[in-house]
């Protein structure tokens, strides 16, 4: 109920600004309204709509499901089976059992397949919600897992040879131009204070800025009224780059997550945060 009231207030604030003729002033006003909304969330953390998905994720984590009818409570996120608190802060990391570096979503997908017997191919077919649709089950679980590290700092070591290789791959991908627009991640995210239209762009290869924003994901997006995970965010960037649909759990998505986590080392995790 509380969530709905706050959402209504925010939308009313945003709607009232549509009549302001100057878009830059409007932009500043929008930012102010979102900042007020963030402040309200801080004062009453339970009013964050993303937390509903985190709660849903917790229930999904603890409920016996899948062909094998077991819960995910034996899933090892890196700190031992079933240990969720603080695990997200140390991801991505190398997992010996999978012989692969994995981010939170890729690891949860792996556990759903290995422990619960789900078919991973089915889970990655349409893994992200459309606008207005709630985040899917895997994303809700990822939101819960990330939220269990909220307030902690990014501390993935990423110093094993396998991990360093993945971070280096992420850096190469970050700068790799392709597609009909010649875009790379760095086209938009390699300078401070730039905008697309009125939307500010974080300088993600700069630790100072990466620390501010990377820990916000998974985040509740006001414009699409759902939680968007990091894998979904990367998928969206590749959509904008005019490339095909980025596979959840692919080496590319894991490497970019690892690169961003490395850049954000020491930054605070505040997931699920609130975004435009």
């Amino acid at each position: 109920m509380r969530v709905r009231v706050l959402k209504a207030m925010l939308f009313a604030a945003l709607a009232s600004m549509l009549v302001v003729p100057n878009a830059q002033a409007q932009d500043a006003e929008t930012e102010k309204a979102i900042e007020r909304y963030r402040q309200m969330l801080k004062e009453d953390p339970w009013s964050n709509p993303g937390l509903l998905d985190s709660d849903r994720g917790e229930a999904l984590w603890k409920t016996p499901r899948g062909p094998k009818n077991v819960s995910l409570e034996q899933c090892d996120l890196g700190k031992g089976p079933g240990k969720v608190e603080g695990a997200f802060a140390e991801l991505p990391r190398y997992f010996k059992d999978a012989d692969r570096v994995m981010d939170a979503e890729t690891r949860i997908l792996w556990c759903m397949e290995q422990l619960q017997g789900f078919n991973a191919a089915d889970l990655v077919k349409r893994p992200h919600p459309g606008g207005g649709q709630p985040v899917k089950e895997l994303g809700a679980i990822a939101t819960y897992v990330a939220n269990q590290s909220s307030g902690q700092k990014f501390a993935a070591k990423l110093d094993l040879p396998q991990e360093r290789e993945v971070v280096a791959l992420g850096e190469a991908l970050f700068n790799r131009r392709s597609g009909p627009m010649d875009f790379s991640c760095s086209t938009c995210h390699a300078a401070e204070g730039s905008r697309i239209r009125l939307q500010g762009l974080p300088h993600l290869s700069e630790p100072k800025e990466a620390r501010k924003v990377v820990g916000e994901w998974p985040a509740y997006r006001v414009s699409s009224t759902h939680v968007m995970t990091m894998q979904h965010r990367l998928y969206d960037c590749y959509w904008q780059m005019r490339l095909p649909q980025l596979q959840l759990g692919s080496d590319v998505s894991v490497a970019l997550s690892a690169y961003l986590a490395k850049k954000a080392e020491g930054g605070e995790i505040s997931a699920p945060a609130l975004k435009r």
């Binding site: 280096a168 850096e171 239209r197 005019r242 080496d251």
Partner: protein, 205 residues
Amino acid sequence: MKKIPFVLAAAVLASSAVFAQQASVPAEKVDAAIKAAFPGAPEQFIPRLTQDETMKQCSASNNNPSAAVAAEIQKREKASIEYPADGKFIGDWKKGEALAQSGYGLRFSDYPATRANGGNCYACHQISKKEVSFGTLGPSLQQYGKLRNYAEADVKATYEKIYNSHAAFPCSNMPRFGANKVLTIEQIKDAVALLMSPDSPVNKD
């Protein structure tokens, strides 16, 4: 072409060297990861996963190619430019304004295409004064033609920059709208008109 002062460039290199203590990844490995990351991609999207020579050279140098590589890119990209058959570079600025506003086209959600591709110029540039929702990744283009006295040589140069930005600025962030078939020759003429027509709002307002 902006020249980055040597000291700054050295500082950037030094700081990236601290992070990149791991060996850099061979290009074949990056390409293989990309090929595997988009299973089930539609046939027409597959060529987009492969880089052409210019993309490779720009990616490898973080868009800061050596003078020799820059000259090579410039020469190759200039050769890609096709000119209007009628020899006229200036189209309709109103159509130019419309395509500068439109970001439609070429995303996987844009098929089958329902209208012409846009240039999305406002995403990165300030252009007409009345449009205040503009990006800042590229320079402001307000008064573009007026500042150049509408000179004929600049009209042609503007066409070339939009057709293939790398012909003027190797490793520019701007898409090669003509060379990559994002915009048609007619559309590029309309964009030139928006920038170079004396009666365009870019110059008039």
